[in-house]
């Protein structure tokens, strides 16, 4: 709809049969997404705060003499997730540039996006490996505070990874079916935003558990 709001509409409420996304719609969608991410930042901020508070209760960090999750796997997972984010972002941007650069951009979007998704899947597998490793060593979430923190926080994060992957998949299917494309891309850019958010959260978890 026109931003000035002065169009006179006659009779019944008008019907727009061919929804197209205007720049205004994109701003709306992005604003909504940013608010959502802001909100979820508070949620994960809470978890990280809990992490810091509880970590402070343990005299030696990480606790001595117990099996710890493998730092190399986690580090590799971090890189994979970062790469995934980069691919997703490039894909999303290639769509935005599409009208200017040419139609073949849509193909480039697909390949970049799929690469990003596969990397994301790879991250999920690495994450599963981390858990498996720890469980093999006899540590589960009930073993102690460290394990509670590790399993609890990574579970919540993994749930978001799964949601993120579903969103990416949904966007991919939508773009294949022509539901999303250069003219209607706010879902795609929002999915990408969410994916970056998931990546940033992981970064903090990684720093908390493996670096500091």
């Amino acid at each position: 709809m026109n931003t000035t709001g002065t169009i006179e509409l006659h009779g019944d409420a008008p019907v727009d049969h061919a929804p197209r996304e205007t720049g205004r719609d994109r701003v709306n969608a992005t604003l909504g997404m940013i608010l959502f991410i802001g909100s979820w930042t508070m949620a994960f901020g809470t978890l990280l705060l809990s992490f810091l508070v509880l970590r402070d209760k343990i005299a030696v960090w990480p606790p001595a003499g117990i099996a710890l999750p493998s730092a190399p796997i986690a580090g590799f997972a971090t890189l994979v997730l970062a790469a995934s984010s980069v691919f997703v972002e490039r894909a999303s941007r290639s769509l935005a540039l599409a009208p200017a650069v040419g139609a073949d951009r849509r193909a480039s979007f697909s390949s970049l996006w799929i690469t990003g998704m596969l990397l994301g899947l790879g991250f999920a597998l690495l994450q599963a490996w981390l858990w498996y490793d720890l469980i093999l060593a006899g540590r589960t979430q009930t073993s102690g505070l460290y394990e509670s923190l590790f399993f609890g926080l990574t579970w919540v994060h993994a749930a978001h990874v799964l949601v993120g992957l579903s969103l990416l998949g949904w966007a991919l299917v939508g773009s294949k079916r022509g539901r999303y494309g250069p003219a209607r891309r706010s879902f795609i850019s929002n999915a990408a935003l969410f994916w970056h958010f998931v990546g940033i959260v992981w970064l903090f978890l990684f720093l908390g558990f493996f670096v500091f």
Binding site: G5, L9, D16, D25, G32, G38, S39, I58, F187
Partner: protein, 574 residues
């Protein structure tokens, strides 16, 4: 995706009335939902008061049905469940949908000149997430091993498996989580809508104050509800998966364990803003209604907005005053005491503006106006008694006594409830196309207001005398036995208060279907919602209005002697 694209009006019943994306339908859904839960929560309060006044006497009417194994007597566990669920229901399932869900959905698009919320599907989901939360919460009452018994604050370790092994507490946490998700969805929607869909000319300083209140509430919702969401996730992990976030190791036997106090921090980081989440829309409504019915501009519009903003900000940093007896360090305690007290300054500015709005007005004492004015009284009483609780010296004695119960019921419960009543009486004509009975409305007002003040003022007395809250039976302790008269008196007044709500129910139902048809603008008010016909058409505004003046241009001399108000779409004469 976007509300700018107009879809045809749905024709199937399911799409039109159940899974509708129309903000007006959703507002009505929220209203009915909220009112029903307020009723359930109210009945629970009545049962609580019954037990306190007559410990161990079977509850009349409902007792045999609800507590067959005890012959109608509320047993201690059921009593705990009742007050826990009373709090949870009133806050999350009663006031939140009725105040924020219904009022926000109804007022925001109509008052800012938008055709719908900006994310209609999200809006629908918001209601159904709330509904799911309500369903889970209700179901939790009937699970084996008892419903939640840990108080609405759900402090661990009482809320972990240490204190209760049943499913009820888990379901309670999930219900709170779902309701929180609903609030976040609503909040995102409201904020984006207010930012993006204001009609041309509707500048920030021309927004009705109701919208301001709802907007600030939404900000608090979006920022602080996730905190309780996370706290609940950790609680569920502790309960279901055996983690130890909140379950500490024993001092004597050692080991690593979590920290129950962490939950208190998280809960109150959310919990204190929640108080303002509930009260800010009521304040907005009161600001507007006072101006509308005093036929006078809202005095000090900018300072009112400013103080609401300041309170919104302050609400985030004062939560520690709920934990003065927990064992906060002296430094933290003093800082929180100072910050809490500072809240009285913006609150005082609001009071000043409200009273000044009435001063030299031309007061039309309709039912909505009476409720709006009673908020000044009730919130004044509740807010001022907050000073006792902000001061650590007095709080140490008064903490967790009935004084606190009286205080927060007056501030966040009674004020928000009366604000909601005022709003319902005010917008009912636009919502349902019929007028509510003024006569019954005034009966309802007086019979609610007087007992309500009595109920909670007696609580101040009994709290001052040292009566702890959440006691099943105060006569079990010799020290408290002489105070039982106070309990009886409170209960008598509370039953009156409860009975008075039947008038409202009757009035609401009768007016909804058999009331007098409402004119387009029964209250002579100029905001955008009253510029359109009743009932409001699909997509509200055929033409998006262009706003020419503020919402409160009452009795402006330039309007001439014949009229004292002007629509916001009209230009003030020079």
């Amino acid at each position: 995706m976007s509300s700018d694209h107009i879809h045809p009006e749905p024709t199937t019943f399911l799409r039109k009335h159940v899974f509708s994306t129309d903000h007006k339908v959703i507002a009505k859904q929220f209203l009915w939902f909220g009112l029903i839960w307020l009723g359930i929560g109210g009945i629970m309060a009545m049962m609580l008061r019954w037990q306190l006044a007559n410990p161990g006497v079977p509850v009349p009417l409902l007792g045999g049905l609800l507590f067959p194994r005890t012959g109608g007597v509320i047993d201690p566990a059921s009593y705990n469940t009742l007050f826990t669920m009373h709090g949870t229901i009133m806050i999350f399932l009663g006031l939140t949908p009725a105040m924020i869900g219904a009022l926000g959905n109804w007022c925001i698009p109509l008052m800012i000149g938008a055709r719908d919320m900006i994310f209609p599907t999200l809006n629908m989901l918001s209601f159904w997430a709330m509904f799911a939360g309500g369903a889970v919460g209700f179901y939790s009452l009937f699970v084996p091993l008892g419903a939640t018994e840990a108080g609405w604050t759900g402090y661990p370790t009482l809320s972990t498996t240490v204190g209760g092994v049943g499913q009820g507490e888990t379901l309670w946490a999930i219900a709170v989580f779902l309701i929180g998700a609903s609030s976040i969805m609503g909040g995102i929607n409201y904020i984006t809508t207010v930012i993006r869909l204001r009609a041309p000319g509707m500048s920030w300083m021309r927004l009705p104050l109701t919208v301001w209140g709802l907007f600030l509430t939404s900000i608090l919702n979006v920022l602080f509800v996730p905190v309780i969401g996370s706290a609940m996730i950790l609680l569920v992990l502790d309960r279901v998966f055996g983690t130890s976030f909140y379950v500490p190791a024993s001092i004597m036997s050692g080991g690593t364990g979590g920290d129950p106090i962490l939950y208190q921090h998280l809960f109150w980081i959310f919990g204190h803003p929640e108080v303002y989440i509930l009260i800010l829309p009521a304040w907005g409504v009161v600001c507007d209604l006072l101006s509308f019915f005093a036929r006078k501009p809202a005095f000090g519009y900018r300072t009112s907005v400013g103080s609401m903003v300041v309170i919104t900000v302050l609400s985030a940093v004062v939560y520690g005053h709920h934990m003065f007896t927990t064992g906060l360090s002296a430094m933290l305690g003093e800082s929180f005491m100072l910050l809490t007290m500072i809240i009285s300054v913006p609150a005082e500015v609001l009071f000043f503006n409200w009273l000044h709005t009435l001063w030299k007005g031309s007061l039309r004492l309709t039912t909505p106006m009476l409720f709006a004015m009673s908020v000044i009284f009730v919130f004044g009483l509740g807010g001022l008694t907050g000073i006792y609780l902000a001061t650590i010296g007095t709080d140490i004695f008064l903490h967790d006594t009935y004084f606190v119960v009286g205080h927060f019921h007056l501030t966040m419960a009674a004020s928000a409830l009366f604000g909601t009543f005022g709003a319902v009486y005010f917008w009912f004509p636009k919502m349902f196309g019929r007028m509510m009975s003024e006569k019954l409305g005034k009966w309802h007002f007086w019979l609610s207001f007087v007992p309500l003040v009595i109920v909670f003022c007696i609580m101040f007395i009994s709290g001052y005398a040292g009566m702890p809250r959440r006691y099943y039976d105060h006569t079990s302790v010799e020290y408290l036995r002489p105070l039982q008269h106070l309990n009886v008196a409170t209960s008598v007044a509370a039953f009156l208060l409860g009975a008075a709500q039947l008038i409202f129910v009757f009035n609401f139902i009768k007016s909804r279907w058999w009331g007098k048809p409402a004119p387009q603008n029964p209250w002579d008010v100029g905001t955008l919602d009253w510029t359109i016909e009743t009932p409001v058409p699909h997509y509200n505004f055929k033409t998006i209005p262009v706003v020419q003046c503020g919402p409160h241009e009452f009795s402006n001399p330039v309007l001439g002697p014949d009229t004292d108000w002007i629509y916001q779409t009209e230009k003030l004469p020079d």
